[in-house]
Amino acid sequence: MTASLPVSGPAPRTPIRRRRLAGAGRVIRRRALVAVPVLAATSMSMFALGAASPVDPAQQYAGAAAFTTSEENLAQIRDNWGVDDPLPVQYARWLGNLLCGDLGWSTSRHEPVADVLAARAGWTLLLVGVALALVLVASLLLGTLAAYRRGGWFDRGLRAVAYAVQSMPVFWIGLAAIAVFALSLGWLPAGGLTDVTATATDPADVARHLVLPVTVLAIAQAPWFVLFIRDAVADSLRDDHVLAARARGLPGRTVLFGHALRTALLPFLTLVGTHLPELVGGAVLVETVFSLPGLGAVTVQAALGSDFPLLAATTLATTVVVLTANLATDLAYAAADPRVRLDD
């Protein structure tokens, strides 16, 4: 995003290679400076929204006992938590605790928020990571093949399927997959992370339970990537350097994957970065459908229980991850393209 394309004459080869990431430190610092106000604004608007919420945290904390607890007791809880203090005071206290590493107490799960995050973030990262890897490999392969015979039956079929999948909600694909592969065919488990009878998390068992969720998430996200790669490769197949490679008599496969795909890869990196929020949203839904113990499912439970501390923590954590990933994409862009320089 901040990277620019300078128009400059040819330069000696080795210094460029070494200096490619020369400005990285400055870019990271600048991005971090922008990220601070972003996070502050996000957390402040979340806090304002939470304060406007009609839910009384004291009654929520008391649970069913709220009906029998005396008004004085509830007032005592409110006083202890300081929920009747002015909003800026509450925000400052919450932020201070956050900076000290205290994320607060989850009112819906009755355990510290940090514990919830620590126990569950790993599964979500695993789900999103494997799905993303699958999407990348599949879309690079399928998109390139479709672009090679543009307008052919494979291209037309692939695009029709991609447009159709684009309009399918991911949880609906998930339910259909459960109906077919888990219930009718009985090949794979319908949900959960391990067998009901299992006492420990056995990697093979977990892998078997993750096949459907990962595939469903990957399929639901793939159309954007496949269509993008197809268009980009189709365009770069008309470029001069591809024509030159053809004229030199290189085999078709080398031209396609070695020359045409390589130029198309650069803008693809940006797409991966901008599509990450979608992937996170998809993970929330997939975790709910397949009852996986990830962050997404916990976020939904927190939302159903109006659990502000937990919701705020998951939303902020996701924001940080997405911003970091965007930065990583830009750095990767600079590393991959010698024309992009970070230091100017």
């Binding site: 972003v38 604004a41 996000t42 979340m46 929204l49 939470g50 406007a52 919420s53 009609p54 839910v55 037309r156 695009r159 029709a160 447009y163 159709a164 684009q166 309009s167 399918m168 909600p169 949880f171 609906w172 339910l175 259909a176 459960i178 109906a179 219930l183 319908a190 901008t274 929020p277 979608e278 996170v280 949203g281 929330v284 839904l285 709910t288 459908v289 976020t299 939904v300 927190a302 939302a303 159903l304 109006s306 502000f308 919701l311 998951t314 939303t315 996701t318 924001t319 997405v322 911003l323 965007n326």
Partner: protein, 266 residues
Amino acid sequence: MAAAVLTTAIAACLLAPLLWPLDQSAVDLAGTRLAPSWAHLAGTDELGRDVAHRSLYGLRVSLLVGAVAALVATVIGGLVGAVAGTVGGRVDRVLMRIVDTIAALPHLLLGIFIVAMLRPSLGAVILSIGLTHWLSTARIVRSELLSLRTRPFIDAAVSGGASRIRVLTRHLLPHVLPRLALATTLMVPHAVWHETALSFLGLGLPPHLASIGNMINDGQRSLLTGAWWSSIVPGLVLVAVTLALAVLTDRWRDRLDPRVRAELNL
């Protein structure tokens, strides 16, 4: 083909109360989870309600909520884009930085947060969609205004002594409106998906209201007992309609802007 699907769907939605009057709360506990047959084209759900009828009513609700939410998003996006595009300078930079930032956040999580804090209700769902989907509209309006500003007829209007408001309403707005209408229509499917996702998570419309998302959510339990139709059929209706809508708006975009020819021949 796409036009036919959409016309049929909209006609069926409009005429549904006349042709197949249905009591939303009527349950038939003698005929629960019946497989599709001539009496019940898409079977019945766990409370013995006809899935095909309810899907139709659900589609009505989902499309209506989607359309209203898309309008809300267009109004927010249009205003922000208009301010950024006409005032320019520092205001423009700040507004666009805000747009970029919100665009980098996961929509669904923001939507969940907004609905959770306001308690699930019709208004909260519409607000949640409106507040997360206005970004593309703001960008479109802004860039359109920026390119229009340099055109000779605007210079002519300004040198003719037209006020800023007059230039905006009489000269700029008519050029932006077709784009805005297209953006709104393009947003309807997205708004419907967002509503469906929220309802599916139990954070959307009230459960007694038949919306596609609520039906898919309700059908989940039946699906696990083998009655797949109560979840799959409502989703299929939604996919058919939103796909038709997407195909048609793609054609429309091609006609509006022949330079960017989206290659969609289904």
